[in-house]
């Protein structure tokens, strides 16, 4: 979800950029491990939520950019609503009545 959201916000981005963005936005609370980032990206490729293409990075190097597909966008909204549902539930549980 986080990866999808990042791609949705930033537009096409490479793996390193995704990790950086998540880390920065979450103020270093969420660390995205490389060990889960790349397998996750591969899984999304298979699912057809993202597509990958080579492009130029900011420092003029070839980098692999991931872009959200329409299916990915749909998946994102599904996951966000799922997440919100869970969050609401948790909030209700932990809030004193």
């Amino acid at each position: 979800m986080l990866i999808l959201k990042t791609l949705n916000q930033l537009g096409p981005m490479h793996g390193y950029g995704i990790a950086q963005h998540i880390q920065q936005t979450s103020e270093a609370v969420l660390q995205v491990e490389e060990g889960s980032l790349y397998p996750a990206l591969q899984r999304m490729l298979i699912k057809g939520w993202v597509i990958a293409e080579w492009g130029q990075s900011d420092n003029n190097r070839r980098a692999r950019y991931y872009r959200l597909t329409p299916a990915g966008k749909k998946q994102l909204s599904v996951e966000i609503s799922e997440f919100e549902k869970v969050m609401r539930a948790i909030t209700r549980v932990i809030q004193p009545a």
């Binding site: 990790a19 790349y38 397998p39």
Partner: protein, 859 residues
């Protein structure tokens, strides 16, 4: 839809994986570089971790890792096997033998036992028979009255139909021949559920006796008559009879017994009203009715009929038999025995290859340990070894199927034992599936031991071993190998005992004294209506050059009797007798018959030309009859009769005649001269020749043809051949089982040899020390042999136990030998112990020649 896209992307990945790999690698390098720019190279690498592992994990997401690893395993296995052609050849050959033999046997079992009969829902078809409780006969042909009552009273059957064999004359080339036909009742085709491909089957009007003659043709006969689609509705002429064709059957339908023509069986047939028992009954069970239910119902009906018709149905019961059982019958037991035997051979082959693999695995320990140390998982190693063994087995399977293909073709062509449904035997999908299954199962089976061994590694010790160095302290491994060898021996002993049993029983069968001399005698069957003029024909045959004697009778001598009866023989001055112990054979013979057959007279004389219609009635009895009915009195001059008003005088006692395969004491039998008695059905002409008998067959046939142009003359064959034919089935099973047993013996001897040889090689050092300390060569020899003998004793004991349990399955195939036969058991295990001792002796001899100095310096 979505999964389709996913599958497509996965496949894309599979085919472009090199590019994907490059992409992934570059991507990660980029990541690493970016991090390095931020935190410094070392920190970045620390944070990033093992790039190769990460890459692996990412790739795993595509889901092809398993397949790729497997492909690598197979690839590796192929390379490993190719580098070791000797081992591979031996293993593949052993497996090909095992799988080939079992595939061939299975293809026969499949066609004969497993594949359903070519009728609609054949499992519901039953044959219904009369029984004769007193005589212990459970499948006797049925009278029309009983069939009618059964049909009316039974509720188990949807249809019940009768059929009876018949034949029509037709000229095939110049020779008249009989075409097999059947007369069937109206329900026959509906009961079988067979539709004609053209026309129709019989309608009820056609089963009235006055109806115009109609017929249904088999597909084969229709094609021989030209295959004209318009033949239906037209008439065909066979010899002197003309029939209207109403239907053509589909190809392959020839029930019962290879019929080519079917005629309606009229309910008012003249034979149907005199109580004759001559019909066969087939019924289709109603849905939901079980075989047992129908059998119970038939028994109840039979009991009722016995009360209703005490005269006609005295001692007659009813018995329903599933059609499959009826057709396949005895072949089932024999085929299952063969299947078991061939399974044993396959298991032995498995054990052998497992042994080879164990040796190999021991030699490869260093390599395996290295791979384990480098991080290969145990499962991965085991899988690697297993794919190697399965690959071996599959290769064996390919050769095995090729061998089976030729074997089966030869078997079908020769048809040595007239197996039912033989022409359906072929290597088809089911058989291939069986071979594939057998190959994979055997591959896993024999690969399991080495694979398990490798998955419990002793890394430190394995790595320390030099390449090819004999490892010490591996009793466990050796025990596994010994166990395999013992199992092989056990299986081989079981097979050998079975084979010896069949061999002994076969020898018993053919060593039964015949009581006649079949050498140089030619026989052929003639239609029974020539019997009144048979003396004339025989005189003409005797005049042919090369003919020594010619005679005719109602049966060939090895059948002992043409007919038999348990109440027909009467002796003057004694009460009429009836019962099993009074069964007597009856044969009608011409005066020349005994000379032609070479039967000897014990006392008195045989018939002469003087024993004609008007001469005093005479008879000849055999020794068995004389012993049963006249004990120590002289039978000659006594008066006997066989269902006739006149008494015949006994004029001679003939030697007993016994055919091959006739168990028990010879049957008491009586001979009547042909001009004073009724011929039964058969007329068998026997010609004793001074030249090789078959060379005269042409001349004899020509002479017979010139005597009667329209007579149907059966195939000429020598009595020797007919005798051989009569034991073809037991001989076939015997040869096959002996062959399997020898194969098993050989393979397991090689297995034992391998085990002992390996252990000798491993113990060279130890043997060297023993000899250096003063052990004599004899001691060493004894030590090695003792080891082998230990294996053997365990194996033989297990095998004898197995034989004890399994030879009962041979019961129906045995003759004159009981399944638990001490001699056979002793002989089987003796042969095996000898073979094993020999297999141990060779490596043991080698052990005695170990040079202590050499052996000690070896380390």
């Amino acid at each position: 839809m979505e999964w389709l896209g996913e599958l497509w992307r996965r496949l894309l990945f599979l085919f472009r994986r090199r590019q994907f790999d490059r992409d992934l690698e570059e991507e990660m390098r980029f990541h690493l570089d970016m991090q390095a720019a931020e935190f410094g190279a070392a920190a970045a690498r620390r944070k990033f971790g093992n790039a190769a592992l990460l890459q692996e994990d990412s790739r795993q997401a595509w889901g092809w890792a398993g397949v790729e690893a497997w492909a690598a395993d197979v690839n590796y296995a192929v390379r490993a096997l190719r580098k070791n052609p000797g081992f591979t050849a031996v293993a593949v050959l052993t497996l090909a033998l095992g799988i080939g033999a079992s595939t061939a046997v299975f293809s026969v079992v499949n066609a004969v036992l497993l594949r359903p009969l070519p009728f609609r829902d054949p499992g519901r078809l039953m044959m219904v028979w009369e029984t004769r409780e007193k005589l212990g006969e459970d499948r006797v042909v049925v009278s029309y009255e009983n069939f009618r009552d059964w049909k009316d009273q039974s509720r188990s059957f949807e249809q019940m139909a009768v059929f009876v064999g018949d034949g029509v004359r037709m000229n095939v080339g110049d020779e008249p021949a009989i075409i097999r036909a059947s007369r069937v009742s109206g329900d026959f085709f509906p009961a079988l559920g067979i539709q004609p491909i053209l026309g129709r089957t019989f309608v009820p009007e056609e089963t009235r006796s006055a109806a115009a003659p109609v017929t249904v043709l088999s597909n084969g006969l229709w094609r021989r008559l030209g295959g004209d689609r318009n033949l239906v509705g037209k008439s065909v002429q066979f010899d002197r009879e003309v029939f209207t064709v109403v239907g053509i059957m589909p190809p392959g339908f020839a029930f019962p017994s290879d019929s080519e023509l079917w005629f309606p069986l009229a309910g008012s047939d003249h034979r149907n009203n005199n109580g004759a028992h001559y019909l066969r009954v087939i019924g289709r069970l109603k849905p939901g009715v079980t075989v047992t239910q129908s059998q119970t119902e038939m028994r109840t009906i039979a009991a009722r009929l016995k009360l209703a018709h005490p005269q006609e149905n005295q001692g007659i019961g009813a018995n329903a038999v599933p059609l499959t059982e009826q057709i396949v019958g005895e072949a089932r037991r024999a085929l299952l025995v063969l299947m078991g035997a061939v399974g044993c051979v396959l298991l032995i082959a498995c054990a052998n290859v497992a042994n080879l693999l164990l040796v190999r695995a021991t030699g490869r320990r260093r390599e395996l340990a290295l791979r384990l140390a480098l991080g290969a998982g145990r499962w991965r190693i085991a899988r690697c070894l297993l794919s190697e063994s399965v690959l071996l087995a599959l290769a064996g399977g390919v050769f095995g199927v090729a061998a089976a293909y030729w074997l089966v073709r030869a078997f079908v062509a020769l048809d040595p034992i007239h197996l039912p449904r033989i022409h359906e035997v072929a290597i088809d999908g089911a058989v291939l599936l069986y071979a594939l299954g057998a190959a994979i199962a055997t591959g896993l089976l024999f690969g399991l031991a080495p694979a398990l061994g490798a998955s419990k590694p002793d890394l430190g010790n394995w790595l320390k071993e030099g390449p090819g160095a004999p490892g010490g302290g591996e009793f466990g491994k050796n025990r596994g190998r010994s166990l395999l060898a013992a199992a092989q021996i056990a299986l081989a002993v079981t097979l050998l005992v079975g084979a010896v049993l069949l061999l002994r029983s076969f020898v018993m069968r053919v060593s039964v004294p015949l009581g006649f001399h079949p050498e140089g005698v030619l026989g052929a069957e003639l239609p029974w209506n020539v019997s009144p003029r048979i003396d004339d024909l025989l005189a003409r045959l005797r005049a042919l050059p090369g003919v020594q004697a010619a005679g005719a009778a109602t049966a060939v001598p090895q059948w002992a009797a043409g007919t038999s009866c348990d109440q027909c023989l009467e002796i003057e001055g004694r009460p009429k007798r009836e019962g099993k112990q009074w069964v007597t054979g009856n044969m009608v013979a011409t005066p020349g018959f005994f000379r032609a057959a070479g039967i000897t007279m014990q006392r008195g004389r045989f018939f002469t030309a003087a024993d004609g219609e008007t001469a005093p009635k005479v008879a000849v009895i055999n020794e068995a009859l004389a012993a049963r009915d006249f004990q120590d009195k002289d039978p000659i001059g006594k008066h006997v009769r066989w269902g006739t008003p006149d008494w015949a005088t006994v004029i001679g006692v003939a030697g007993n005649v016994k055919g091959f395969g006739v168990a028990g004491d010879p049957m008491p039998a009586i001979y009547f001269p042909n001009r004073q008695a009724d011929w039964g059905n058969g007329v068998w002409v026997l010609v004793r020749t001074a030249v090789p008998p078959l060379s005269l067959a042409g001349a004899i046939r020509k002479e017979m043809r010139s005597w009667n142009k329209r007579m149907i003359i059966g195939e000429f064959d020598t009595l020797d051949n007919m005798l051989a034919e009569s034991v073809a089935v037991p001989r076939f099973y015997m040869v096959l089982l002996v062959g399997f047993a020898l194969l098993a013996l050989m393979v397991s001897a090689v297995g034992v040899y391998g085990t002992v040889n390996y252990s000798v090689a491993r113990r060279t050092h130890e043997i060297g020390i023993r000899m250096a300390l003063g052990a004599e060569p004899g001691d060493v020899l004894a030590m090695i042999l003792r080891q082998g003998l230990g294996l053997t004793v365990v194996g033989v004991a297990l095998g004898l136990a197995g034989a004890f349990l399994s030879t009962r399955a041979l019961q129906t195939l045995l003759f004159g030998v009981r399944p638990i036969d001490a001699e056979a058991f002793a002989c089987g295990s003796g042969v095996l112990i000898l073979a094993v001792l020999l297999a141990c002796y060779i490596p043991a001899r080698r052990a005695t020649r170990v040079d202590p100095l050499e052996a000690l310096r070896h380390e």
